[in-house]
């Protein structure tokens, strides 16, 4: 009897309260919009990472009010007069309309826990996060800004690869972004990439894997070739977990997996350590043989310490 009652309630809730709610594709639990937003769009039951838009990502990472966009006026042209079932400019316009974004990558400067960074964020919803001339040029300008201002660069990737509709010019963006990475290395300015679901093709085979530290989000699919192409080639089903972030760590292709809720803190920590300026204030991030008790408390305390370190007014006077 009790069972029957509970079913009724959940059904009623679904209709009335849960506007904008999404059910988790992994554990099928229903999550409200507020619940998701509060938890960085991560399922609080199973830890599944939902997709986030570029603007949501910026809001999650940048300190409030510090985001200032660069190269915002760049738009895709149609150099090939590309024509399949629909003209390319129409696809771009539709993507702009649907996502409210100018292109598949947002670039800008921001502060993260008061640390100056150049931030580039890709959005998979914009034509599959594909890299065409504009994404390449935006990456170049972000790198240029990082070099000129001696500020580290963080890139959040999500991409199906090169943008077919720009033909060879999109392939050459791989070469272009690689040159930008080399220019950053000559200074050097720290460069960290965050690979989110999914990052594949030309983006993974250029700047995404050329960063100083490669971070992956839990469950992200990271592979050069798409799963269908590989299945066609080997003519069998892919092994379970193939291409996922976890398997990439195992095979030595990425440095670490960081859950979204910790990303902001860890980004600041890693970029800071690469700059050599901020001492290790968080707890060490390594695989220990046994987990120690009381980790959460130490973590919260450490964040407090790094925040005070980054705030000059609270810094003790120089001796």
């Amino acid at each position: 009897m009790a069972q029957k009652v509970s079913v009724d309630i959940s059904r009623r809730n679904r209709g009335e309260v849960l506007k904008g709610a999404e059910s988790c594709p992994q554990c099928s639990q229903l999550l409200t919009a507020e619940e998701l937003e509060e938890n960085y769009r991560v399922c609080r039951h199973c830890g599944h990472h939902f997709r986030v838009t570029a603007r949501e990502r910026v809001a999650q990472l940048a300190d409030t009010g510090t985001w200032s966009e660069i190269a915002a006026n760049l738009r895709s042209a149609d150099p090939l007069d590309f024509f399949d079932l629909r003209p390319y400019p129409e696809r771009v316009e539709e993507a702009e309309y649907d996502t409210g974004l100018p292109e598949a990558m947002l670039t800008g400067t921001a502060r993260i826990h008061k640390m100056e960074v150049v931030l580039a964020v890709m959005d998979f919803q914009f034509l599959g996060g594909s890299m065409g001339s504009v994404v390449g040029e935006k990456f170049w300008r972000a790198a240029e800004t990082a070099i000129e201002t001696r500020v580290p660069l963080a890139v959040v990737c999500a991409s199906g690869g090169a943008r077919m509709q720009e033909g060879i010019l999109s392939l050459l963006q791989m070469a272009k972004t690689t040159c930008a990475v080399e220019l950053m290395a000559q200074v050097p300015v720290p460069f960290v990439s965050v690979l989110t679901h999914p990052t594949t093709g030309g983006v993974l085979a250029s700047f995404a894997t050329l960063s100083d530290v490669v971070i992956a989000e839990p469950g992200a699919f990271l592979s050069f070739a798409g799963p269908r192409i590989i299945e066609q080639t080997i003519k069998e089903k892919l092994p379970e977990g193939f291409g996922l972030a976890e398997s990439n760590v195992e095979h030595g292709q990425v440095d670490m997996i960081i859950p979204r809720s910790e990303l902001k803190d860890r980004l600041v920590q890693i970029l800071g350590m690469l700059e050599g300026g901020v001492a290790c204030a968080l707890e060490p991030l390594w695989e220990e043989e046994e987990s120690r008790p009381g980790r959460r408390g130490a973590f919260a305390e450490a964040i407090g310490r790094i925040k005070s370190l980054a705030n000059p007014s609270r810094r003790p006077p120089k001796r």
Partner: protein, 300 residues
């Protein structure tokens, strides 16, 4: 045209596109482009090793990536050339069935790109110019290749080519397929044989994705603009080399002579430039790749 919510023009657009396709693209042009694709993949077209045999009699092959294996899909080694040493690296497709299987149809695995990096760094150490031959359908898409870091091997090869202090010349001799081709083509000079192709995706895969029908490959080939004249116009390559009458497969020796002459000219020009300046010019060249609109203006 901007699509408004509730307004569905999909069917209409599909109809008009179909009609445009029938009217706008005449069949002759269509055939010419597909003919180029077929020539670029011609089974008797000279491959990297054919050019090496013709151009560099004393070639010494260097093998292995020192990490995992030797990938026969990419060959490389030292060659004597006009009073100096050069490093030659290229995709090798394989002529008969056995060779094709062994060389995986020129589709390199991570080991191939890591071998290329090793050889390029070796060349850089001794001031040896690098020549690459590009002829691959693409990097090999396999489970093991992914697990050993196909993406990182390609990006590593790109970065390696970007930072070389020595002059670099790349020649696209057949199929320039996607990232697997570009991995060896970030060079000071990118030359292309007249009947070769260079593309972000194979016409077959492009058709399968956009038209949901691989049989539309000839249409995809046309719209992708992958022939040498298209690429020169798009400034994606620096020069196009004419082939012997009827195509390079008719006369390997003549094709090799043409490549050799072009190599000589380009190396002489490149060697006259200070290494730092040469590198800067390389960065500048790739920085200008792409077309976009800024504040409404189209920039090339």
């Amino acid at each position: 045209m901007p699509t408004l919510p509730g307004v569905h023009l999909k069917d209409e657009i599909a109809k008009v596109s179909q009609r445009l396709r029938e009217l706008g693209h005449n069949r002759h042009l269509d055939k010419a482009v597909w003919g180029r694709v077929e020539l670029a993949r011609h089974p008797e077209r000279p491959y990297t090793q054919d050019y090496i045999h013709q151009m560099f009699p004393g070639f010494i092959e260097l093998r292995g990536d020192r990490c995992f294996a030797d990938d026969p899909a990419i060959v490389g080694g030292l060659a004597a050339y006009m009073g100096r040493t050069i490093m030659v690296i290229g995709h090798q497709k394989g002529r008969d069935l056995a060779a094709r299987t062994r060389r995986n149809f020129g589709m390199a695995r991570p080991e191939g790109y890591r071998k290329a990096q090793r050889l390029m760094n070796l060349a850089d150490k001794f001031g040896i110019p690098v020549l690459t031959f590009i002829d691959t359908p693409g990097a090999y898409p396999g489970v093991a290749a992914e697990e050993r870091g196909q993406a990182g091997a390609i990006s590593g090869s790109l970065l390696c080519m970007a930072r070389l202090d020595v002059p670099t010349v790349a020649v696209i001799i057949g199929e320039g397929g996607s990232g697997g081709a570009l991995a060896l083509a970030l060079a000071d000079r990118v030359l292309m044989l007249e009947n070769s192709i260079y593309s972000v995706i194979s016409p077959e895969s492009c058709a399968a994705i956009l038209w949901k029908d691989a049989d539309e490959a000839h249409l995809a080939a046309q719209t992708l603009r992958l022939t040498s004249s298209d690429l020169l116009e798009l400034q994606a390559v620096d020069a196009v080399l004419p082939e012997p009458r009827g195509g390079a497969h008719r006369d390997h020796a003549a094709a090799a002579r043409i490549v050799k002459e072009a190599l000589e000219d380009n190396l002489r020009e490149l060697e006259a430039i200070h290494p730092q300046l040469r590198k800067q010019e390389r960065f500048q060249k790739f920085r200008q790749m792409g077309v976009w609109k800024e504040n409404g203006l189209t920039l090339f």
